[in-house]
């Protein structure tokens, strides 16, 4: 398969604009500027591109919600707050091929009529932020950003905004609050950002990988894009594989590659040839799969049918030596630490779960703890303000559903079954 998202990774000085242009970069932007914005929106709709940040919403449809009134300022925000544990796909693009993102954003901004765009990047990505700043400077000097881009009459400025280390700021409305200088906590919806987003103006928020798909869609056409992978979620996808595999890393493959294919073919199989125990298919919020589910295609709908989700495409592979209680604790501790504090069930519920898991893991479990965990999950799930609390519950529920006996063993025997 011809790579489009990771094509420049590994090439020397791939972040420099000369090399990007030499490899055919910015041709999509030049082509796009000759099209009508509406046509671009239609192309993206036709391509079937679904948001790569996790929710999988149709990108073209999202763009089409932006009001057409030219007197209203509009914004594009790129969500580069890649914080989901196990996820490092956006970082690959940002660090090595920043111009791909800049080009995708410039096209998207032209399509929705945004004169300004922001890249909200997590503060830990200091290197990537510098790369982006440099790329924006280069692109502006070459006339791909700034005033009257390539003589098209379209002007656009791009800014990098560094976050301060809160996972919640990857939630799109919390991200907007953070750019505006407020505390990063999610906003109520409606109004949706498409009508009232950044500074209460129409705003599109897209993930890095989503925007990185745009130049290829313009250049190769929506048909090329939609011909790849399953009909309902087509296109290339970056899977970031970590954990007990021989070759962890980034893999750009057609959407819908199966778990088995990914682990045993592309990643060279399990580390030390141990038995596979569980796979988290889409970042830590996604409920885990087990050996029974190895032939599940990794795409939005197939994983949803299995009760899990594609999420960010972060595949975490665990072998037989992994303690599921400890795994659940680590994941849950992450969520309770990152809970923003706004709503009751997430703020007070997730630390409670963590405390119970900590006890079970440390050999202080009590009879009834598993039932209490399940009951608390019921009380949190679907009642939180944003999906953070739901994510915590989904992860824990996945572990409890598939490995309930391990939890009970920990409680009964005050020690671990796996190690």
């Amino acid at each position: 398969m011809e790579k489009v998202l990771l094509k420049n990774l590994g090439k020397p000085d791939s972040h420099r604009i000369e090399n990007y242009i030499a490899n055919g970069g910015y041709r999509a932007l030049e082509a796009a500027l000759k099209l009508k914005p509406d046509n671009i929106v239609q192309m993206v709709k036709d391509s079937g591109l679904r948001g790569r940040g996790g929710a999988g919403f149709s990108t073209g449809l999202k763009w089409s919600f932006i009001p057409k009134d030219p007197t209203i300022p509009k914004y594009l925000c790129c969500n580069a707050d890649e914080g989901e544990p196990g996820t490092f796909k956006d970082r690959g693009i940002i660090d090595n091929d920043p111009h791909l993102l800049v080009e995708g954003m410039a096209i998207a901004s032209y399509a929705i009529g945004a004169a300004n765009s922001y890249i909200y990047i997590r503060g830990e990505f200091a290197f990537g932020a510098d790369r982006l700043e440099a790329a924006i400077k280069e692109a502006t000097e070459k006339g791909y950003l700034g005033n009257n881009i390539q003589g098209s009459g379209f002007s656009h400025n791009m800014y990098v905004h560094k976050g301060f280390g809160a996972y919640i700021c990857g939630e799109e409305t919390a991200l907007l609050e953070s750019i505006e200088g407020y505390r990063g906590q999610p906003r109520k919806k409606p109004p949706f950002p498409a009508l009232s987003g950044l500074y209460a103006k129409p705003t599109v928020i897209n993930n890095v990988e989503t925007l990185a798909c745009i130049p290829a869609i313009i250049e190769k056409g929506p048909k090329w894009f939609s011909s790849m992978g399953p009909e309902k979620s087509p296109g290339p996808k970056i899977y970031c594989v970590s954990g007990h595999v021989k070759k962890p890393g980034l893999y750009e493959l057609p959407m819908g590659t199966t778990v088995r294919d990914l682990i045993f073919n592309h990643c060279g199989g399990m580390l030390k040839n141990r038995e596979l125990k569980a796979v988290i298919p889409g970042g830590v919020s996604a409920p885990m799969l087990t050996t029974r589910d190895l032939d599940t295609p990794l795409d939005f709908d197939s994983l949803a049918a299995k009760g899990s989700m594609l999420g960010s495409g972060a595949v975490i592979v665990m072998d037989e030596s992994t303690c599921m209680v400890k795994m659940a604790l680590i994941i849950n501790r992450f969520f309770s630490h990152e809970s923003c504090g706004k709503c009751t069930p997430c703020r007070d519920g997730t630390p409670w779960l963590t405390n119970i898991l900590k006890r079970i893991e440390g050999g202080q479990g009590r009879q009834g703890d598993v039932e209490l965990l399940e009951s608390l999950c019921t009380n949190i799930f679907g009642r939180t303000f944003c999906p953070l609390g739901d994510g915590a519950v989904m992860a824990l529920r996945g572990a409890l559903k598939n490995f309930r006996d391990e939890f009970q063993y920990h409680i009964d025997h005050k020690k671990c079954m796996a190690s």
Binding site: S336, E338, C340, T344
Partner: protein, 840 residues
């Protein structure tokens, strides 16, 4: 679509109801009679949907939805009482209790705590949380002299933060930390230098924000309360005052009641302890051999009878405080006019009677009441001549809150920076006392330089260039304001006390009003007054030029200044001063004392031994607002009931009884006896009050969300007021700063100085200048400085304000240690002062 109301029909628990589209599910359900519990919802704050207590089921939606931020959609079917909803409520409470301190036995909120009530009602009744609790801190910590905090009890509803930002505009609270470590407090828990209004305490549903002065003093069920009106400024906030064992220990606001709803300012919430001060006068006093000695009522009244002949006429004068009730003020003017036959009456020591008369006419008070909510419905609101944020804090809250929720412009013209500036569309910094020039310039700009017929000859020769130079403003700013006013269909002007300090602006206020009206605008004018019943005092006829209801009087008498001058000349022998501290408040202290000392008889009725009372021959102990019934008329013209909580201390009497007792000395039938009967007489004498309804509780209603116009006074049919044109005041040539005075945020006149709590907030007076002036003088906030005028100098600490007009110094008139009236001299230009650093 503008103006068209779209309705939506929805089913709530099977009951079909039709409400306005966009109504919140919560409001619709409550209207339909279904109870939904909430913590974070408050009608006047923006919804955040965070506590999740109000989750409801909407048919067709998988997840429960927060009813406090979800509007109804036509055809929705909503269930608020299903097993899922009920269990969700219980589970939210279980989560809230997980880390809650559960120290109810030592919590001040115990007994009136919303968390207690909710858990009692919605469960869970069994605790499952058996983990170590997270504690923010071991000990409560004070955030200010009036606010103490225990974060372990917090339910994270953020109402404190939101009321501070959205309503008060102080923005001094926020959240520290994240997740279950999130703590709503001051930034980095620093001691707060804020408005100290305690609205954060009032909105707190639990014992997290608490009143420091009230701490550990009582249980709420041991309190007895009275629903009354705040005695401080003219806003007229409704509040409940409460006592235990005869000591007034708390005043609080009530959600959805009064125009203030849950809000009060520092004065109202913490300043009512003056009523229980040990310095209260408890017995009549008579001057014997140079000193005031305790006496019986018989002796005191006998002394008065002996010295004041009936029908003394012109030789007598009366001043009654605008803090007395309408009933007392009415009876007071009746005593002066009918018993003593004297036309010399006034309700203030601060202003000229011609100025007050003109101000009443220019602001249209004689045309009836104007609701502040109606003003805020206007397209454009101009605040001028008022330091609203300090003088009428709760009016400031109302203006800010409504401004933030609708499309309108707010224009503020003031020499000094104020909190409300941050909500202003345009703020204009003009030279002090130049309201007249500002208004003329705006009027000229509104008519593009050509005076309209309404402005007549007044502006014929005026040039905008001269006016802006005199006002110290830019032409651009004035034109911007004019543009805003021209773009508006309806305009409200809120005009404050500066017009009385500088009365040359009064006719111009009327001119601008007419100019706007003649260009087809709907114009409302509301005065912003700094005394609780100032408007009532005028409407009861405590004024030398008009009687009750602004009706004409046979002979016009003298106002306060006139009386003092007459006394000084020997033309006035006796004065009866009820509640007013003339010696402290009248400009030119030295002259005032001299004049008062020349009186053959000075009767002072007060609750404290004021500066004036110290000069009296007879002192009659009266009552505070907490010890009597009656009505106050606020600045809007809204008549509201005040109620009795306590008996007057010692031998003191209700003021109505004191005035009546003096009257009965001369006419045994003088009365009526009961406040309600006096009110009946007022309704007859002043047509404005004939139809005023006191059954006003300001509960939300469908007609006009938070208002009730039946409480507003009507227009006067007998009004015979005229506007006097004052020549422009001059200022001294020497001195860098123009000295201005007014009320401090924590004080109102002098009697708030009797509140121990308010004294603790800021114990000494400060002088306020602009940051720029301070920088050029090499001074900074907190420095000790000498303020030197021609007649007086004082050592004060300095406070700088960022956006104030340069060359203006402000000293509050409330501090006994810095009697600002000593800077002023009768018949001399307005004082200028120099400020220098004091080094020890």
């Amino acid at each position: 679509m503008h103006g068209v109301i779209i309705m939506a029909t929805v089913k709530i628990n099977g009951k079909e109801i039709t409400v306005q589209d966009n109504t919140l599910i919560l409001d619709a359900a409550r209207d339909a009679g279904f109870e939904i519990p909430t913590f974070c919802y408050q009608a006047d704050l923006m919804g955040i949907g965070s506590c999740r207590m109000c989750l409801v089921e909407i048919e067709g939606q998988k997840k429960l939805q927060p009813s406090c931020i979800t509007p109804v959609l036509h055809g929705m079917s909503i269930n608020t009482e299903t097993p899922t909803v009920i269990s969700a409520r219980a589970s939210m409470l279980e989560f809230l209790l997980a880390n809650h301190a559960l120290d109810c036995p030592v919590c001040d909120k115990g007994g009136e705590c919303e968390l207690q009530d909710m858990v009692y009602k919605y469960g869970p009744h069994k605790g499952r949380h058996a983990e170590k609790k997270f504690k923010f801190q071991e000990k409560d910590y004070a955030l200010s002299p009036v606010i103490i905090k225990n974060s372990n009890r917090c339910v994270q509803c953020q109402k404190c933060v939101r009321v501070c930002a959205e309503v008060v505009g102080a923005n001094v609270l926020g959240a520290l930390g994240r997740g279950d470590h999130q703590e709503e407090t001051s930034f980095f828990r620093h001691f707060l230098d804020c408005d100290q209004d305690g609205n954060c305490i009032e909105v707190c549903p639990v014992g997290c924000f608490m009143r420091l002065p009230y701490r550990y003093r009582t249980r709420p069920w041991d309190l007895k309360g009275a629903d009354t009106v705040c005695p401080y400024c003219g806003t007229g906030c409704r509040m409940v005052i409460e006592h235990r064992d005869g000591v007034l220990i708390r005043s609080k606001a009530q959600l959805g009641v009064g125009l203030n709803s849950e809000t009060l300012c520092a004065r109202g919430r913490f300043g009512c302890d003056f009523a229980s001060s040990t310095e209260r006068l408890k017995t009549p006093l008579i001057r014997r051999g140079g000193s005031l000695e305790p006496a019986s009522w018989e002796e005191a009244l006998g002394y008065i009878k002996e010295h004041i002949p009936v029908n003394i006429g012109n030789k007598m004068g009366g001043i009654a405080s605008p803090r007395l009730t309408n009933e007392e003020l009415y009876l007071f003017q009746k005593l002066l006019r009918d018993i003593f036959g004297s036309p010399n009456l006034d309700s203030t020591a601060r202003w000229e009677p011609e100025a007050t008369e003109g101000f009443i006419k220019a602001t249209g008070m004689d045309e009836g009441g104007v609701s502040v909510f109606d003003c805020m419905e206007s397209d454009s609101v101009l605040v001028i001549g008022s330091h609203l944020s300090d003088e009428n804090p709760v009016t400031d809250y109302i203006v800010r809150r409504i401004k933030n929720t609708r499309r309108m412009s707010l224009i503020i013209a003031s020499p000094r920076e104020m909190k409300l500036d941050s909500s202003a569309t345009i703020k204009l910094r003009h030279s002090p006392g130049r309201e007249a020039a500002v208004l003329d310039a705006i009027a000229l700009a509104v008519n593009a330089g050509k005076p309209s017929p309404a402005e007549g000859a007044a502006l014929k020769d005026a040039k905008i260039e001269d006016l802006i130079a005199s006002a110290g403003v830019t032409k651009g700013a004035v034109e911007q304001i004019a543009q805003r006013l021209l773009a508006a269909n309806s305009i409200a002007i809120i005009a404050g006390m500066e017009f009385l300090r500088h009365p040359e602006g009064i006719p111009e206020l009327g001119l601008l009003k007419e100019a706007l009206k003649s260009s087809g605008k709907k114009v409302l004018v509301m005065p912003a007054l700094d005394r609780a019943n100032q408007r009532g005092a005028w409407e009861m006829g405590v004024h030398p030029a008009f009687g009750p209801g602004y009706g004409p009087v046979k002979d016009k008498g003298l106002g306060c200044a006139g009386m003092l001058e007459a006394a000084n000349r020997g033309d006035l022998d006796m004065m009866y001063i009820a509640g007013a501290d003339v010696a402290a408040m009248h400009p030119d202290e030295e002259f005032t004392r001299k004049a008062l000392l020349k009186l053959k008889l000075l009767v002072v009725q007060d609750i404290f031994l004021s500066e004036t009372a110290k000069l009296a021959h007879v002192v009659l102990p009266g009552s505070s607002f907490a010890e009597k019934e009656g009505t106050f008329t606020n600045q809007e013209g809204r008549a509201q009931i005040i109620r009795k909580l306590l008996p007057p201390p010692g031998k003191a009497k209700r003021d109505l009884d004191v005035i009546r007792a003096v009257g009965e000395v001369y006419d045994p039938s003088f009365g009526p006896k009961m406040p309600v009967l006096v009110l009946d007489e007022i309704r007859n004498a002043a047509g404005m009050y004939a139809h005023v309804s006191l059954a006003f509780n300001n509960k939300r209603n469908t007609e006009n969300k938070l208002d009730n116009r039946h409480a507003l006074v009507q227009g006067s049919a007998t009004s015979a007021l005229s506007v006097t044109r004052f020549s422009a005041a001059t200022t001294e040539p020497e001195g860098r700063f123009h000295l201005t005075t007014g009320n401090h945020l924590f004080h109102s006149g002098r009697f708030s100085r009797r509140s121990g709590t308010l004294l603790g907030l800021l114990s000494a007076a400060v002088v306020e200048i602009s940051e720029k002036d301070a920088a050029s003088l090499n001074l900074k906030s907190g420095d000790k400085v000498k303020v030197k005028g021609r007649h007086y100098e004082a050592i004060l600490s300095l406070k700088t304000k960022k956006g104030s007009k340069e060359g203006v110094a402000f000293i509050a008139e409330n501090y006994d240690d810095v009697p600002v009236n000593r800077f002023f001299k009768k018949g001399e230009p307005a004082p200028r002062v120099d400020i220098t650093k004091v080094t020890y």
